[in-house]
């Protein structure tokens, strides 16, 4: 979806890095098999995180296989998967479809139109298989579009829709920990939305498009404000994670939650700083 929830490779042990990659490649393969080659392009770090998190929570057996793939035609890659991987692939299709639909409505995006026409049948099948998630995604996307349309500057309001989507996504099946998983997803979703908007700020301003940070961008403490707000979101996410009874792959998950999620932010911030110096 957005590609913000990634590992900080420098701080990851080699065995954990290899395991992370195996999850990544496993998901990639499932996407390819289920939804054709186009699946690969929709694949993101975010969904790999969901895959590892839900697997850690449920501790279902994982299948381990070695395959070549289009990107690595020579060396075989280790791959891990199970039913959660299938679920993540299905959710990737759903989210991408809604995103494309939104792009079509936004600016008549050609790619969007092609995608929507091509994947309609698959989309309907997946949406019927997961009515709970599909309903929340659809409603959230619609409300988000309306809220952006009226240029809402209350960060909670506008970021909450992505929050609701991720909250629902993290509940594979209802259990005693559904509330905590939803909470984790909710704040992670808000984090992602606000970071995505921060990254797009200049682009949006230039186009005259709406951006939730627009109303506060001229404040002297703007950067601190963004950082604090993002930290408020991710720390709620982290608190939920620490409450969950998870012991599998905690080093990878903590790496992402406490460090990796800031990679994109730092990148954007540095780029902005350099640009500021040039001007």
């Amino acid at each position: 979806m957005f590609g913000y929830v990634m590992v900080n490779q420098d701080e990851l042990k080699l065995k954990d890095y290899n395991r992370y990659r195996s999850f990544y490649c496993g998901l990639c393969r499932v996407l390819e098999k289920k939804y054709g080659i186009s699946g690969k392009l929709e694949l993101t770090y975010d969904m790999t995180f969901v895959d590892i998190l839900l697997n850690a929570y449920m501790e279902l057996p994982l299948k381990s296989e070695r395959h070549r793939c289009m990107v690595h035609p020579v060396k075989k890659q280790d791959m891990l998967f199970n039913e959660i991987t299938d679920y993540c692939a299905d959710m990737t299709l759903l989210l991408t479809y809604y995103k494309m639909l939104d792009d079509v409505n936004d600016d008549g995006s050609m790619i969007g139109r092609v995608f929507v026409r091509k994947e309609k049948k698959k989309f309907e099948r997946v949406a019927n298989a997961y009515p709970r998630q599909a309903k929340v995604f659809e409603e959230s996307m619609r409300s988000l579009a309306q809220t952006e349309e009226r240029r809402e500057y209350n960060l909670d309001k506008v970021a909450g829709f992505t929050g609701n989507m991720l909250a629902e996504l993290l509940v594979y099946e209802e259990s005693v920990w559904s509330d905590e998983l939803r909470k984790l997803g909710f704040y992670l979703g808000k984090f992602i939305y606000l970071l995505d908007a921060f990254e797009d700020l200049e682009k949006d301003l230039k186009k005259g498009a709406y951006n939730p940070w627009q109303s506060s961008k001229d404040r002297k403490d703007f950067e601190a404000l963004v950082e604090n707000t993002l930290m408020m979101m991710i720390s709620e996410c982290a608190k939920s994670f620490e409450r969950l009874p998870i012991v599998q792959d905690v080093d990878i998950l903590r790496n992402i939650i406490y460090s990796g999620v800031w990679q994109k932010y730092e990148e954007v911030r540095e780029k902005r700083e350099k640009k500021g110096e040039e001007e």
């Binding site: 909470k183 930290m231 406490y258 460090s259 730092e266």
Partner: protein, 244 residues
Amino acid sequence: MIADPYKVLGVDPGCTDTELKKAYREKSKKWHPDQNPDNTEYAEARFKEVQESYRQILDARERGTSGYGQPQTQSYQQSSGPGYQGYANYGSAGAFNEYFNQWQQYSEQQRAQESAETNEERAARNYINNGYFREALNALNSVPEINRRARWYYYAAIASRGVGNNVTALDYAKRAADMEPDNQMYAMLLNQMSNSGTWYQNQNRYYGFGGINNVSQQQWCYYLCLANMLCNCCMGGRGGFFFF
């Protein structure tokens, strides 16, 4: 309250969080009603007891206590990372009641203020006490802006936090504390709401990540740039889709 939650889970009070979680998983599996078709009723009661015990210990550890009122042990401090003042719960009421119990100890100042509450404020307090944060906000929102006093902002902060609006909640908490700087309750709430970042950064350091700015762009970046290029020509720009 479970009298001895550690005994239920079969762990030592000084156990690490990981040991606690492992024990919880084991016992949950053992007593899961699906695993005990022959005596579901008994299993269900045990299962519930396991859930309660785990949450009770978690709550206690977040508060920095042991679960039955003893000072925390050294090994726990080492094992679980820095403690934090958790009190909010998007979507559920449990931890909020903890917070309320805490502040009900300021009873005298508290009672005097409660008796002077407006109807809306009183309604909001009752809703919040029962975990109905949305209803609390509805009651509060019926008050016109000019009539909103510190008390109003105080409850609005707690209720906003309860529905997951943590930015708004912090704003409200600041307003309440600004309007009545001498009120300990308001100061405490603001302090707790401002502290989550500190807790997070402590966690970051505790796990050896060296701060949130200690992230470098690495090989990943190469793929990312490649992917962005691909995306820009085929996917319309937004999002970091990428190949390995």
